[in-house]
């Protein structure tokens, strides 16, 4: 459970990146934070594991005020994967990279081995086990970074732009993995510009602009609201676009799910055939 109460944050150079945001994310919730470049998304989520402390207001993680504890102890329950994998890879082999955090958290040797194998397989990078992470492609490095956090199985997972540079198959795998985590009642927060990815997952969506939250609600409501999306420089998901254009036919506009769309269109065809 993450609770943020009216938090403000200014960087040392006086840029006010957050101007009063409040949010409650319950256990087991899946949240996507979207918004234009520089909206303050990365700044916001760095408050969830104590990397940044609010200059005003309060953030509580599982009831603990983040100013009263260390990042390392919060990290045990809140896994955070950074935007750029090159900011964390340093080991000689992928395997060692993944076990780094597990060692920091003092897991048993046996458990470390199991968790590493599990994470390697989950992200299909098992064949690179003994390879240097620096020799991998961009998308693969991203997956190593992801695996290195998933490995300790945190209760909350925060992903900054997880789909960047991933091909369709990997995105689909990521989506399935997120759904699996959701089924296990884990909390997931992603920051992304990938509107199709969000439409497919249909999570709770939060739109940010200029350091404030401008919309918060279910995906079907927010991703089909042209005004809000325009404000945050997001285009409608393609399905929503089609249904907006088809509005004259008397079809509902708030459709982002492909199966729902298909069912509706089949119904239209039946009606036309009669």
């Amino acid at each position: 459970m993450i609770e943020a109460e009216d938090i403000h944050y200014s960087y040392p150079n006086k840029v006010e990146a957050l101007k009063g945001v409040s949010i409650t994310i319950k256990d087991g919730e899946f949240v996507a934070i979207m918004g234009q470049n520089g909206a303050g998304k990365s700044t916001f989520i760095k408050h969830f594991n104590g990397l940044l402390k609010p200059t005003q207001g309060r953030v509580k993680v599982d009831g603990v005020d983040t100013t009263k504890t260390s990042v390392a102890s919060l990290a045990r329950n809140v896994g955070f994967v950074f935007q750029n994998p090159d900011h964390q890879l340093f080991s000689e082999t992928v395997e060692e990279e993944i076990s780094f955090a597990l060692k920091n958290f003092c897991f048993d040797k046996k458990i470390i081995e199991d968790r590493v194998t599990w994470a390697l397989e989950l992200l299909s990078i098992n064949q690179y086990r003994k390879t240097s992470p620096f020799l991998l492609s961009g998308g693969e490095r991203k997956r190593v970074a992801l695996a290195s956090v998933l490995a300790w199985d945190p209760q909350t997972l925060i992903l900054d732009e997880p789909t960047i540079g991933q091909d369709h198959e990997q995105k689909e795998k990521l989506r399935q993995f997120i759904m699996q985590m959701k089924a296990q009642k884990k909390t997931i927060v992603i920051v992304t510009h990938d509107v199709e990815f969000v439409a497919e997952c249909n999570p709770r969506v939060i739109l940010m602009k200029d350091g404030k939250i401008i919309a918060d609600g279910i995906g079907t409501a927010i991703l089909t609201d042209p005004v809000m999306l325009e404000l945050s420089s997001i285009v409608l998901p393609q399905i929503a676009e089609v249904f907006t254009k088809l509005g004259a036919l008397g079809l509902p506009k708030n459709i982002i799910d492909i199966y729902e769309a298909k069912a509706l269109l089949l119904k239209v065809r039946e009606r036309l055939n009669k």
Binding site: K46, V71, G79, F80, F82, N84, F100, N104, F105
Partner: protein
């Protein structure tokens, strides 16, 4: 990382910013040489104070103070080393003059940092590159130098991000004894170096694909010309240098302890 803040140029204009970088550099070198010539407090104090007008005219007090604060740790280190060595060198006694010498050496370090900080705070990398080129430094070197200067703050910022990323994976930098603490920085240093190398390779590729170095003869949109202020600064530099050499060889400077 605050030491680097003292090297970060911000675009403002002031009489000091507009001075020719070559003249400013000569001035910095003169201060540097003078600081090396003296090892007693009084002249070093004078050198320290002499640069304050530049700081205030250029309105870079804040960043300047920050860079001095960043250097405070090293200054303290120099002071302690001096005290300790003179204590052991003097059969375990510490004279007032020893303390004064230690203070003087620390002050010398501060003066050096101060002058370089003023130089970098008031000189844009572009200006610096131009100055190098017009001093007949080959363009490739001038470019490499200005790029390096430009990337210092970027690197400092990146180091912060990397520290965050590793802390999020449970790294505790302040844990353990001294050796352990140094080892804790490996997960920060390696990504920093790797990404710096990666970036420089990418930069080189990007530049070459935009035809860098295609024409052998380059011309510049702006060229540096010396103005009245620059000549004044040159005169001041020569004056200071001559004065410093004269005083250090022919005038006996009283130490503070000898005044009592």
């Amino acid at each position: 990382m605050s030491v680097f803040d003292g090297l970060k140029f911000r675009k403002v204009t002031s009489p000091v910013h507009n001075l020719d970088p070559r003249m400013k550099f000569i001035y910095v070198i003169v201060i540097f040489v003078s600081a090396i010539l003296f090892s007693s407090i009084i002249p070093l104090m004078v050198l320290f104070v002499m640069q304050l007008p530049f700081v205030f005219v250029a309105k870079v007090q804040k960043q300047w103070v920050r860079s001095l604060r960043g250097a405070a740790f090293l200054a303290l280190f120099i002071f302690i080393i001096n005290i300790v060595t003179s204590y052991f060198g003097n059969n375990f006694t510490l004279l007032a003059s020893n303390i004064e010498a230690a203070i003087a050496l620390t002050l010398r370090f501060v003066v050096l940092i101060e002058s370089f900080s003023v130089f970098f705070l008031t000189t844009s990398p572009d200006h610096l590159g131009l100055a190098l080129e017009q001093s007949r430094v080959p363009y490739e070197f001038a470019f490499a130098f200005t790029t390096a200067v430009r990337f210092v703050p970027v690197l400092a910022e990146e180091a912060q991000t990397i520290m965050d990323a590793q802390k999020a994976r449970g790294l505790e930098l302040e844990k353990g004894n001294l050796l352990k603490r140094i080892r804790n920085y490996i997960p920060v240093l390696i990504p920093l170096i790797v990404s710096a190398i990666r970036r420089s390779l990418e930069l080189a590729e990007a530049m070459e694909s935009r035809a860098w170095g295609a024409s052998k003869k380059r011309t510049n949109l702006f060229s540096l010309k010396l103005h009245k202020g620059d000549y004044a600064l040159l005169a001041l530099s020569i004056g200071v240098l001559v004065g410093a050499i004269y005083i250090s060889f022919f005038v006996s400077i009283p130490t503070i302890t000898s005044l009592f």
